[in-house]
Symmetry: C2
Subunit: 125 residues, 2 copies
């Protein structure tokens, strides 16, 4: 299975941003109570705090566009580290913003993965 | 110790880029034979392949400037995931390039850390 970490990373990333852009409260299923999110350097832990943070972001419409995706196996536990760079557009704003996001996915013991680490940062420049 | 993952991440990052900019062959001490580097989406594994990749980069002078640094504990094994965004200038080029880089640090069993995962990507836009 680990030989396909790159395919898993791609599937996860597509699912994550599609869900984020459609209805970000549905991302709850991807986190666990020990998961961590650092969003623009503010950190929260646990599914409910993470989803609340995402739902409270000050925009209604959002569209992510992934530009690059790299992945590596993260440990003997079967984890995967995913690094994304991309652009996002919010509401009626016409200029996309660049961002980078890092996930560590861990096996959930039932054949799938959950997000243990999640770090998001806008890139200015 | 894990409570200070943020301080460790900062110390590591400062040491890493200082060493990179002074003499990047000295980064060998930070990797192990199972370490992985994905540099601009090209992957190599092991200390010697990683250092060769870094030494072969087509510039002589380089200066990294870290702009943001976020860190989270990565696992029960005492690992730390570090996400950096920054800018770098090479040789006589006057325009800095934006980049993002992700490390997973793991304890080396002797009170310090080594780099298990390393992913580097330039950001255009």
């Amino acid at each position: 299975i680990m030989a396909d970490y790159s395919g898993i990373a791609q599937q996860f990333t597509q699912f994550y941003y599609t869900t984020f852009d459609e209805n970000r409260s549905n991302l709850a299923a991807l986190y666990r109570d020990h998961s961590m999110l650092t969003f623009e350097s503010a950190s929260v832990q646990g599914t409910s705090a993470i989803v609340q943070k995402l739902v409270d972001l000050p925009f209604e419409k959002v569209k992510h566009q992934v530009q690059t995706l790299d992945a590596q196996p993260s440990s003997g536990e079967g984890g995967i580290i995913v690094m994304v760079t991309g652009a996002l557009m919010v509401d009626e704003e016409e200029r996309p913003m660049n961002y980078t996001q890092v996930f560590q996915l861990l096996p959930d013991g039932a054949g799938s993965y959950f997000v243990f680490n999640d770090m998001f940062k806008l890139i200015y420049g």
